[in-house]
């Protein structure tokens, strides 16, 4: 079986993951809409997952992929709870702009 990394190289995957992660950071900083912020967090999680799979192929080891499974399970739980919180925020405040969430500020 031929290793696909011989054609592409692990560096390209590292660069792609870095750029994707930075796009996620950019989204968190740039937007006010809490849902888009959530989507950016998903993009960051996916960037890390991609790097896990690439290194799992590089080391010919399945443990990286198992870790990706667990991170997917955690991401699913996180999105469900986070969106429920967003819905209740929207119900109480009428908007989901993160600037309105200053009640805990002293």
């Amino acid at each position: 079986m031929e290793n696909v990394l011989n054609h592409i190289g692990i560096e390209n995957y590292i660069f792609l993951s870095v750029v994707l992660f930075c796009v996620g950071i950019f989204g968190v900083l740039y937007r006010r809409n809490a849902i888009i912020v959530f989507m950016s967090i998903e993009i960051m999680l996916n960037a890390v997952n991609l790097l896990f799979v690439a290194f799992s192929t590089y080391h010919q080891d399945a443990q990286g992929q198992v870790f990706v499974f667990f991170s997917m399970a955690v991401a699913a739980a996180e999105v469900a709870v986070g969106l429920a919180i967003l819905v209740s925020i929207f119900r109480n405040l009428g908007s989901i702009s993160i600037d309105n969430l200053k009640n805990l500020k002293g």
Binding site: C22, V23, I35, Q60, V66, A80, V87
Partner: protein, 170 residues
């Protein structure tokens, strides 16, 4: 350039482009659609790395479950461009500057660190089929696997509790 490299470049371009479009589009529903395309292209990367099971699970979980959840929430709140509030220009400028800085610094680090060169050995050993993954998941990682199921159960209960309408107290 081999065919695999071209495929990788096209997929990477789609991934980064749709990630940017997710952030820049005004309408949240368009953002969600672009995010679906982004997730599909990441699943394509998994297929390219020959981990088919993970790619299928990724499509089911992300493009299926999570994005449906996002879309339902957006429709429930009835969001559109009207709700959009813009950040002040200085904040947006700061976001762009920090994005460029982080990107440049990280890529410079990875370029200047010891590059991994040479051939990647392929032993031909099967390490990412469903068969092997299932064995590893249910032997070595039995306890974390069960904990993941407990986590999902707790998340479900918490979601139901959170989204229940509170009764008005006097």
């Amino acid at each position: 350039m081999s065919g695999i490299l071209i495929t990788f470049c096209v997929l990477a371009f789609i991934t980064v482009l749709t990630a940017f479009l997710t952030i820049f589009s005004r309408n949240p529903i368009h953002s969600a659609i672009y995010l679906v395309i982004c997730f599909f292209s990441i699943a394509g990367h998994y297929f390219l790395l020959n981990s088919q099971f993970l790619a299928v699970v990724h499509i089911i979980v992300y493009s299926g479950a999570i994005m449906i959840l996002f879309l339902f929430t957006i429709m429930l709140m009835n969001l559109n461009e009207r709700h959009e509030v813009h950040r002040p220009r200085i904040t947006r400028l700061g976001a762009i500057v920090s994005f460029v800085l982080v990107c440049v610094v990280l890529i410079a680090i990875f370029i200047n660190s010891k590059p991994i060169v040479g051939e990647y050995d392929a032993t031909g050993e099967d390490f990412q089929s469903i068969n092997v993954l299932g064995k590893i998941l249910l032997n070595e990682y039995m306890v974390p696997f069960e904990f993941a199921s407990i986590l999902l159960l707790v998340a479900m209960i918490g979601t139901v509790l959170l989204s229940k309408k509170e009764k008005l107290k006097k």
